[in-house]
Amino acid sequence: MRNLHRLITAMAAVTLVAGLAACGSGGGDKGAGGKVKLVIGTFGEFGYDDLYKEYMAANPNIEITARVTKAEDHHKNIAAHLATGQGSADIEALEEGWIGQFKSNPDKFNNLLDLGANEIKSQWPEWKWKLSVARNGAQIGLGTDVGGLAMCYRSDLFAKAGLPTNRDEVSKLWPTWDAYIATGKKYAAAKVPDSAFFDGPTVMYRAVLGQSDIGLYDTNDNVVVETNPAVRGAFNKTIEALNAGLSAKIEAWSPDWNAGFQKGRFATIACPSWMMAYIQEQAKDASGKWDIAKIPGGTGNWGGSYLTIPKQSKHPKEAFALAKWLTSPDQQAKVFRKAGNFPSTSTLYSSPVITDFVNPYFSNAPVGKIFSESVATMKAQYLGPKAGDINTAIQNGLTRVEQGKQGPDDAWKQAVEEVKKIV
C-alpha cells in the first residue's frame, strides 16, 4: 500500500507542475498617461525593433510592447487565446502555413476591409492578398514578407557532370519540370561520385503543386485531393523524379540534410529566399560553389507572413494604423536591408533595393531579381484550414515510395485515407 501512496503523490506532483506551466498573460490596454498601449506578437526574426522606436517617436500617444516567441509556440498560443477569448495581442503575426487554419474562423479577427485595407490592396501581388481572405470575403491580414522560389544548384558539381554552369544557361535547361527531370537524368548518367541530382521529394512536390490554380481545397473549403488532377499530378511528377534515381533520399531538416549542403550530396534544391541564409549557415566553406537559377515553371512561393488584428483587441483602429505602416513598402525595404526578409509589396520589385541586390555567397547571383520574378507571377491558390496536415500526409506517402516501403499507387491510396481522417 505504501508504494501506491507514493505513486499517487508523484502523479499529483507531475500534474501540478504541468498545470502551473500552462498559465498565460493578458493583452494590451491603456497605459500610463492616457497612451494607447499596443501589444504586437511576432515569432522568429521580423526585424521590427527599430521600426517600433521610429513609430513611437512619430506617434507619441502610442506605446508598443513586443512579444516574440518561437514560431510553433506562437501559433499554438494564438489558438489558445482565441479559443478562451482572452490574452491575444492587438496585432498577431500569422505564418502562411497556419493562415488557412485561422482564417476558417474569420469571426475571431477584425475584417481589415472595414478598417480601410482596400485602399492599400494594390501594394501586394494578387495571390498574397487573396491568401488571407476568408471564405466569407473578410480580409484578416496584411502581408509582411514572402518566400519566392528559385533553384539553388552547385556549379562545381554541374561542371563535373559536363552541364553548363552559367546561371542563365542553367535556367534555360529547365523551363518545365519535365526538362528538370531530363537534366537530372543527364546528371545521373555522368556518375558524379557521392552525389544525387536533388535532395528529396518534399520541396519538389510543394513547388509543383504551388504552380497550379487549384490546390488541396476549392474556395468553399472542400478538400479536393482526390478529384483535383493537379494534386495527383504533382505527386506523380515527383515520383517520376524519384523513379529516375535522381533523389539523394535525404529528409528535409535532418542532420544528413544539413551535412549534405556542405558535402555536395545533392546538386540542386528548390529553395525559397529565406533558405539562402540556411545554406550559408550549413555550408560555410562552400561559398562560390552554390549558385541560383530560376525555378522550373517560373513561379513559386514557400512561406511568408501576415499581420492580423484579433477581435479581442481594444484598439483595432490604432492597431490597423500600425500594421499598415509596418507593411508599407518603405518599412518592408528597411526590414529587407536589416533582416533579409523578402518584401511582399510588388512596387518594391522594380526599385533598386531589390533589383541591385546580389548575394556574394551564391556567386553574386542577382537574387533580388530572381526571387521577385518568381513571386510576382505566382498563382492565387486558395489555402484551406488543414492544408499543412494534408501536405504532410502526401509528403509522407512520397517518402514511403522513396524508401521502397510502398509502390506509388499504394502510397497514394494510404495518403488519401489519412487525408479523410484529418478532415
Binding site: 507514493r6 500534474t15 498545470g19 479559443a83 544528413d256 504532410t392 509522407n396 524508401q403
Partner: protein, 298 residues
Amino acid sequence: MRNALHRFDVKASPYFYISPFFILFGLLGLFPLLYTGWVSLHDWDLLEDTHPFIGLENYAELVKDSRFWNALVNTVSIWVLSTVPQLILALLLAHVLNSRLRGETFWRTGLLLPNITSVVAVAIIFGQLFSRDYGIVNWLLGLFGAGHIDWDAGTATSHVAISVMVIWRWTGYNALIYLAAMQAVPDSLHEAATIDGASSLQRLLRITIPSIRPTIIFTVIISTIGGLQILAEPLLFGGGSFTGGNDRQFQTLALFLYENGFSLFKFGYASATAWLMFLLIAIVGAINFSIIRLIRRA
C-alpha cells in the same frame, strides 16, 4: 463548549494542514481530468464557437481507428525496449557504486547528469548520432562491416533509437534510487556472505535484490507510467513531425494525442485519446499491483 472546540481542533486541524495540496490538486489535477472527460463527449474544434454534444462517438471512432492501435503497439514496444534494459543497467550500476570507490560523489553526481540535461538537447544530439549518412552509430557499425542503417525509416530501428534515448536519460536516475535503497541493506549481511566466499554477483542476486524489492517495484511502476506517456523523444526524433515518421512507425499514443489536439485542433478526439490512455495506464498499474501482491505472498 471549550471541550467541543478542542475536540473539533484535534479532529479537523490535520485536514486543514494537508488541504493546500488537495485544493491545488483539485484545481490543477482533478478538474482538468474531469473537464477532459467532458470535452471528449463533444465534437470540439478548438477555434469553433459551438461544440456539439456527440456522446461516446469519439470513443467509438477511436477504437476503430487504425492509427490509434498503431500508436498503442508502438508505445508498448518502446516502453518494453526502454524499461527492461534501463532497470537492469540501473541495478548493475548501483551495485558497482555501492562498493568502495574513489571519488564516490563524482560518480554519483555523474549518474544524474543525463537526467538534468534538457530533453530537447538530448533528442537533437541523438538525432545526429543516429543519422543515416554521417551518424556516429552507423560509422561504428561500419567498422564491424555492418551496412548503413536508416534508423528512422524502419519500425524496429526507430524504436531502438528512441529507447536508447530514454535509457540514457533515466538509467542514472533509477540507479540513484537503487543506491539509496542498497545503502540501507545491513553491511553485516554482505560481510557474512563475503566470508562464506560469495562472489559480487551472488551477493547482488541473493542479498541486495531481495532486500530492495519494494524499491524495485516502485521504479517499475514509475517507469511504466513514464514510458506509456512518452512524447518528446519520438516528436523530436522525427524532426518535430507529429506523425512520428512517414508511416507512423514511431508515433506513440501521446504523440497521436498531440497531433489531434494541437495540429488538427480536434480537442474532443484528443481528449478521448487522453482518457483511453488514462484507463490503459490504470489497468497496467493494477496488473503491476496484483503481480506485486502475488510475489509478496509467495
